[in-house]
């Protein structure tokens, strides 16, 4: 890990003085007010935070690359962000704060006979599922976050891209973070793996399928429930100089098991779409996701980590419709501010098995509302995708990387040279 830091810092320190070098950096934060009506307290609760504060940097020098994302939610919202239906890492009906070191990886990339190859190591996303919700058009995360992403693991991930096909394989530690500042269990590195295959069959279109075997994510010393995970998604993202049309349809499934016997099955389907014209963006998301219910602590938004045994309180089923609208950004040089509002209509019902879950008992109702209003503040360059590295980064149609090689699809007759990650200028219309 120390070597990874050295390599990354050295890479970031490189001055961009030749075509072989590239770097970018940016920061983001969202002042946010969120009422939840009701939430786990069985009452309306309104809170405000500085959410998703992060610093992101990418750098490349010849075939060496570095990725850094620091997330400061541990400083600004340790109690978690109200997110009715959300769960994970000891939080329920709140989204947990992410690790301070969200991504820190160093990698090498090269092209061999038309195949773009990469190997990255450090802490970051396992090759599984869809993009981190942080770079998608909604502020609130979907409930399926822990079914559709595997994040903040110490990993080695290799990727190869040949024509319209991308293959990835990663090995990592199964344990999820215990807190924003907790160190991973380095001794568990390699006990889990995931793989993702992505097809780029047409311009703007991306199809991906993933599989993962994750050992004991919730019990850091092991011997907890293991997870077998699958994810399929189709993504469409078309951008022009002043517009964007985006869509994502995703299915995710996780089986929790001990000694090979499945104890809990969790499924999710989700569709989200956004359209942007003249920098006004509107989005709609509909999802139905299973949530494993856990024994709450005295704080109804927290569950014990690790749990005290391998049982849960049953499964709940969350159906959530979210509408998001954002106004054109206010721009000042590399700084931008995009105001937005989101409203979510939420239904919680029994899953399979229902166990002890009873929405009326827990929330006082099975129908809930959640509102969000905030401003997405950005400076510098924040990349559009998060969760892929090196050759797995999907080149964006019609855009050019710093090496000025076309990423046009399909067919990709000429493979791009190594590029850190696709991104848009912060001033381009319809960026978040």
């Amino acid at each position: 890990m120390r070597m990874v830091i050295v390599v990354t810092v050295a890479t970031l320190g490189a001055w961009c003085d030749s075509p072989a070098q590239s770097w970018s950096a940016g920061a983001q934060a969202i002042p946010l007010v969120t009422p939840a009506d009701p939430t786990a307290t069985r009452a309306v609760l309104t809170e405000g935070y500085l959410t998703q504060p992060m610093f992101m940097a990418h750098a490349g020098w010849r075939s060496l690359h570095g990725v850094l994302t620091l997330n400061f939610e541990g400083l600004t919202q340790m109690r978690g962000e109200l997110s009715t239906g959300g769960y994970g890492e000891g939080y329920v009906d709140r989204r947990h704060p992410h690790a301070y070191v969200h991504e820190l990886l160093a990698g090498v990339e090269d092209s061999v006979r038309g195949t773009h190859l990469s190997l990255y190591a450090g802490r970051g996303f396992a090759p599984f599922g869809s993009d981190d919700p942080m770079v998608r058009p909604f502020e609130k995360y979907p409930v399926n976050h822990h079914l559709a992403q595997i994040l903040e693991r110490v990993l080695v991930v290799g990727a190869a891209r040949a024509g319209p096909v991308i293959g990835e394989l990663g090995v990592f530690n199964g344990d999820e973070p215990l807190s924003p500042g907790s160190a991973p269990k380095y001794s568990r590195f390699g006990d889990s793996w995931s793989s993702r295959v992505t097809l780029l069959p047409a311009r703007y279109v991306e199809l991906a399928g993933s599989v993962a075997r994750v050992k004991s994510p919730e019990v850091p010393d092991g011997h907890g429930l293991d997870q077998n995970k699958w994810d399929l998604y189709a993504r469409y993202d078309r951008r022009t100089a002043d517009s964007r049309l985006y869509g994502l349809a995703e299915w995710a499934h996780t089986n929790e098991h001990a000694s090979g016997a499945i104890s809990t099955s969790l499924s999710s389907w989700m569709g989200e779409a956004a359209v942007c014209k003249k920098d006004v963006m509107a989005g709609l998301r509909l999802e139905g996701t299973d949530r494993p219910e856990e024994e709450p602590l005295a704080d109804p938004f927290r569950t014990p980590r690790p749990p005290s045994d391998l049982s849960n309180l049953g499964v709940s089923r969350w159906t959530i419709l979210t509408l998001a609208v954002s106004a054109p950004r206010l721009l000042l040089k590399s700084f931008s501010a995009r105001p937005f509002v989101e409203v979510a209509r939420i239904h919680a019902g029994p899953g399979d098995p229902p166990g002890l879950f009873d929405a009326d008992l827990r929330y006082g109702t099975s129908w809930m509302w959640m509102f969000s209003a905030g401003v997405r503040l950005k400076v510098g360059t924040i990349h559009d995708r998060m969760g892929r590295y090196g050759a797995a980064v999907v080149p964006e149609p019609g855009t050019r990387t710093r090496s000025n090689e076309s990423h046009d699809m399909p067919g990709m007759p000429a493979m791009p040279s190594p590029a850190p990650m696709t991104h848009h200028s912060n001033n381009a219309a319809c960026t978040l």
Partner: protein, 433 residues
């Protein structure tokens, strides 16, 4: 192996063949018991494990339903463990229902239907996972979880209205005391606390001296369990510790007569039962004086209120330095939790969550069975007798009601079974025999 032992083994094998018996001895013959003499271990001379029990031939048949006398209803909270003495029963509460699990219900169980006569709210607790009454009936001890963790000691001078004497909590009981068993070692009362893990802090076992119940004193603490330690069982100065995937461990804390104490335990032996997830233990003292078998409860994954998994494992502890699993009991679609044994009649009662209450005949030799009554398990590379196929299943309770039960604990008391049901409250049933 000595020459004499060889001769004995050969003699046993010959006799089995000569009489034409089709009985199957799963283990190599227990030569130490051939003489039918009481058994002691060099590692633990202070404990007499008794004579080898005689084999018992039973016929497997559909077990009858245990007769239900009545239900004491508790629907405001989820009910957890039960402890009964005389005509009074105590049940604890768990988690969050319409109210938090911080209440002890006190029931008059003299009639057919348990009647709530009082309750006690324990401050600074979200779950009261365990409750126990001391052998002299003078004290009630309750474990609290998830708000620092503690044990609360009550005076039972008036059994229907407990009076709090003391509360023991320290940094070792954080974040919660999952179970607290109590028992005497050389006449002095102790509590054995199984502590939950928290983040990177491991689970541990804490021993507390209750000699002065108004002023409990910790005498021992040890990181234990992988990843959990859920329960203990104390008898005759031996402590059986349920270490989850580290199996069941037997500690000498004064019973062996070799100098160990609750403040300085000595590990005698360990067994990894099939599947791990060792949750609870009962060391059987049968009516003939046999002390060779311990029952281990496995708590597998489940969804509380709906499903559960986990078997009962029978362990031969006649050599406490090398205990060995010899038999098991499995229920499709349900898993076991806590036990209570009617030792005079040789019946083990097991709480079986959504599987209700199960009664097993545990008389006689549990490690000897017919080949058709065995199962080989490749994961543990062990051949075990199946208690169901041996005809040991003699009663099932509450399942026939078809009203959805989730039984946490049971207690046998004078011909009656008290079953704590997380969903419904406390049931009173007639014992199997």
């Amino acid at each position: 192996m000595s020459c004499r032992t060889h001769v004995l083994v050969a003699a046993i094998a010959a006799s089995l063949c000569a009489c034409g018996s089709d009985s199957h001895v799963v283990d190599p013959p227990d030569t130490s018991s051939v003489s039918n003499e009481p058994l002691t271990s060099a590692a633990c001379p202070g404990v007499n494990f008794g004579k080898r029990p005689a084999p018992l031939t039973l016929t497997a048949s559909a077990p009858p339903a245990l007769q239900v006398f009545g239900l004491g209803s508790e629907t405001g909270r989820y009910t957890a463990e039960v402890a009964a003495r005389g005509t009074t029963a105590y049940t604890t509460t768990w988690g969050m229902r319409s109210a938090v699990g911080n209440k002890i219900d006190i029931w008059d169980v003299s009639g057919a239907t348990p009647t709530l006569v009082d309750s006690v709210i324990v401050a600074n607790a979200t779950t009261l996972g365990d409750v126990a009454v001391s052998d002299d009936g003078k004290l009630l001890v309750v474990a609290t979880e998830r708000t620092g963790g503690s044990i609360v000691v009550f005076d039972l001078t008036d059994p229907r209205h407990p009076h709090q004497l003391s509360r023991f909590t320290n940094q070792d009981t954080d974040p919660g005391v999952h179970t607290a068993e109590i028992g005497r070692v050389n006449g002095r009362l102790y509590a054995f606390l199984s502590i939950d893990p928290l983040n990177s802090i491991h689970a541990k076992l804490v021993i507390v001296d209750l000699g002065d119940p108004s002023n409990p004193q910790q005498v021992y603490s040890k990181v234990a369990g992988n990843p959990f330690v859920h329960d203990t069982f104390l008898r005759d100065g031996l402590l059986f510790v349920a270490l989850w995937d580290d199996g069941m461990e037997i500690w000498d804390i004064g019973g062996c007569g070799t100098g160990a104490t609750p403040a300085a335990p000595r590990v005698l032996g360990n067994v990894h039962t099939v599947g791990g997830q060792v949750h609870n233990v009962w060391w059987l003292h049968d009516a003939t004086g046999g002390k060779r078998f311990a029952f281990v409860g496995q708590e597998g994954p489940g969804s509380i209120g709906s499903s559960s998994t986990g078997d009962i494992h029978v362990v031969d502890i006649s050599d406490p330095t090398a205990p060995k699993e010899v038999a098991f009991y499995h229920v499709d679609g349900a898993g076991t939790h806590n036990f209570s044994v009617d030792e005079a009649n040789g019946v083990l009662y097991a709480a079986y969550y959504n599987g209700g209450v199960r009664a097993l005949d545990v008389r006689g030799d549990l490690k000897t069975c017919l080949p058709s009554q065995t199962q080989f398990t490749s994961t543990g590379n062990v051949t075990r007798c199946d208690l169901r196929l041996m005809g040991r299943e003699i009663g099932i309770g509450l399942v026939e009601l078809n009203r959805g039960v989730y039984v946490w604990g049971v207690q046998y008391l004078a011909g009656t079974i008290y079953a704590s049901d997380m969903v419904n409250g406390i049931w009173k049933l007639k014992a199997a025999k």
